[in-house]
């Protein structure tokens, strides 16, 4: 996959910090996260549960929870800062210009309204069309995603999981927005349906030309669907670049770990899990947030937060040991590196 040279950014998230007020104190869920989504491309955002992926999406959508506060940054969409726009402007932009495919279609659809009505209301909230015209638009879109249009009269509980997800996709695309945010759109589905859904999304994208921000914890999904990707860990973007570069030559140890945890079809190696758990948002590590789990961490990693540095063309990584990483990659692929850090790390470093 190649990146056509000068792409105008459709959305530019710059230095976005979000803090949650919790009973245990403030939690830094997003720390200076920056991300560019060029027009007409798919960008993948990968990270563990709770790393801030969904918070980033909600910030773009302007639906952060009441206890969340945006402490810094801007989100530029076609030149307008969404964080400084008034409520009515935002409401008009939502869905018409930026729509979203949610994680759980079952919970996103209101159980007491028919699927058709829920698409129709989304259309009529943004376009001055009659109910009949909106129904026609909904029927066409449903047909396009592979749901029989007559099923529009059914309630969500009468749909299968795959059909509900398709209905959400139809709803997300019916107003032909420029950007679609997809928040783990297929986590609740089995592999075959998951594959069908992504094929459908890709063909629709080719047809309609929207940009997509695909948020997932599944690296394989990103490899299949995106041209660019960013890796997020504990509220920070730790690596970003073209999918091919990041996957084939990862720089950040977290990305190396993520790649290890992918099951390999050729069975040349068993998946290796990253030991430990992500840090507590109310008690983030001082330096690099990945340092406590990182087999390559040095004293400087625990005191100084690393910044994103260019490591290749359009490829950036936030690690103090960026320069040494190419040499460390073979070690990162070994099980012992991750699971016996106490004994191996020091000795191998001396050698």
């Amino acid at each position: 996959m190649t990146d056509p040279a000068p792409l105008s950014p459709l959305v530019e998230i710059a230095g976005l910090s979000v803090r949650f007020r919790t009973k245990r104190g403030p939690g830094d869920v997003l720390d200076a996260a920056s991300l560019v989504i060029p027009a007409g491309t798919s960008v993948g955002l990968v990270g563990e549960s709770g790393c801030g992926k969904s918070t980033l999406m909600k910030a773009v959508m302007g639906v952060l929870a009441d206890n969340a506060e945006i402490t810094a940054g801007q989100i530029l969409h076609n030149g307008t800062d969404l964080l400084r726009a008034d409520a009515e402007t935002l409401r008009r932009k939502r869905w018409a210009e930026i729509s979203m495919i949610t994680q759980s279609a079952l919970n996103s659809l209101n159980p007491v309204h028919t699927v058709g009505d829920q698409i129709v209301e989304a259309i009529r909230a943004h376009r001055p069309v009659s109910v009949a015209e909106a129904r026609e638009m909904a029927a066409q879109m449903l047909a396009l995603v592979g749901v029989e249009p007559r099923r529009a009269r059914d309630y969500p509980h009468q749909f299968s999981g795959g059909m509900r997800q398709r209905a959400i996709i139809a709803m997300a695309l019916v107003l032909q927005p420029g950007l679609v945010l997809a928040d783990e759109p297929t986590t609740s589905l089995d592999m075959i349906v998951q594959d069908q859904i992504f094929r459908k999304i890709r063909s629709l994208q080719a047809e309609l030309g929207f940009s997509m921000l695909l948020v997932t914890h599944d690296l394989a999904v990103v490899i299949e669907n995106c041209s660019r990707m960013a890796v997020m860990y504990a509220g920070r973007i730790v690596e970003e670049g073209l999918v091919a570069d990041v996957v084939n030559a990862p720089f950040h140890p977290y990305t190396l770990g993520l790649k290890n945890s992918l099951p390999r079809i050729d069975r040349t190696s068993e998946p290796i899990a990253i030991p430990g758990a992500p840090p507590d948002p109310v008690d983030m590590p001082q330096g690099c947030r990945f340092a406590p789990r990182c087999p390559f961490a040095l004293p400087v990693c625990r005191s100084q937060p690393p910044v994103l540095e260019t490591v290749g063309e359009g490829h950036r990584s936030a690690c103090h040991r960026n320069a040494e990483i190419p040499g460390l990659r073979p070690r990162a692929a070994r099980f012992a590196t991750w699971h016996d850090t106490a004994t191996t790390d020091i000795t191998e470093d001396i050698q």
Binding site: R91, W95, T102, S108, L109, N110, V112, H126
Partner: protein, 323 residues
């Protein structure tokens, strides 16, 4: 849907039958012989027996039971011990008086309660909202007779805005017909018991709707409605409130039965000649046929209310399976 209604009809018939059976034995289990209130022990034994035969009390219990069922089904409640008029005739006017007070007030309480509760749940946390919660909690906790007495004291005795009781000004209407129920005099008399009953009944649906809204507001589909860029009012009413109504709707039959039974209290306070007051009078005069009939009608109205609410619930929640 039709099957669902038919099934609910069938359930209703079974409930009615159970009710009638329980009532038959309940009144026969009461201490003392009800017949003795009309049949004087001073009568000749022969005359006593003749009267017993006239009431059908000489027949075997099973036969009495079957006759009783037949009578109830045809709304033949016999004659009042006290006035010797037929019980159906006595009840006829009274039931209208009760319904005209209780039903509109319940409908208003549920509609207004649901809307106010929805708004309070949506815009929660303000000082005004906290004060409202306090006011309605007090209203719900206060006994209705006490509220009624306070209202009479304030609005009738001190301010003189409303008459303290009765259906109409005594002597103003010769015939109790439709015109009476539409007259300004009647409405003037209705106002105070209506306001008291509504204020008392509104607290429950309102507080329930409010807490139901609090949990619905956190649902994914409400956030999704916001993501879809729907106007705030549409999210509030079409999504959050619409779904929060479900648990509130389930309480309608229970509360309606409670309100009909509670008409005894409000009608006594306001000397409102309804079913409840008739029941009190019947009990005081040991007028068994009247009490039994009033009891029966209140139960039938409650069962009908439950039936309507069940159908309503089936319409409100498409996930209800009709088979």
């Amino acid at each position: 849907m039709r099957q669902y209604i038919l099934r609910r009809c069938w359930h209703m018939l079974i409930t009615l039958f159970a009710l009638m059976t329980i009532m038959f034995f309940l009144f026969r289990l009461l201490p003392g012989d009800p017949a003795m209130t009309v049949i004087s022990s001073a009568m000749y034994p022969k005359a006593q027996e003749a009267m017993r035969a006239q009431f059908g009390l000489d027949k075997p219990l099973l036969q009495q039971y079957l006759i009783y069922l037949q009578n109830l089904i045809t709304f033949d409640f016999g004659y009042s011990f006290h006035s010797s008029r037929s019980v159906s005739e006595l009840l006829g006017g009274r039931i209208v008086n009760t319904l005209v007070l209780i039903l509109p007030s319940m409908i208003l309480a549920y509609l207004l309660g649901a809307v106010l509760g929805a708004l309070m749940g949506w815009y929660r946390g303000g000082r005004f909202e906290t004060a409202m919660v306090l006011v309605f909690t007090v209203l719900q906790a206060a006994p209705v007779f006490w509220l009624g007495m306070l209202a009479i004291l304030l609005f009738s005795i001190n301010l003189g805005w409303f008459p303290p009781g009765h259906l109409v000004t005594p002597g103003m209407f010769v015939n109790r017909d439709l015109w009476m129920y539409l007259s300004a005099d009647f409405l003037h008399h209705l106002a105070l018991p209506f306001i008291v009953h509504t204020s008392y009944q509104i607290a429950f649906p309102l507080l329930l709707m409010r807490s139901s809204m609090l949990s619905t507001a956190g649902e994914d589909f409400v956030e999704f409605a916001r993501i879809k860029g729907l106007p705030e009012r549409r999210i509030l009413f079409r999504h959050a409130a619409r779904n929060s109504m479900l648990p509130v709707a389930t309480t309608i039959p229970m509360i309606l039965g409670w309100a009909l039974a509670g008409s005894v209290v409000i009608e006594t306070v306001f000397s409102w000649p309804g079913l409840g007051l008739l029941m009190i009078e019947g009990v005081q005069r040991s007028d068994f046929p009247v009490v039994q009939a009033a009891f029966y009608l209140i139960a039938v109205l409650t069962i009908l209310g439950t039936f309507v609410a069940d159908i309503l619930y089936g319409i409100l929640d498409p996930r209800i399976v009709y088979d």
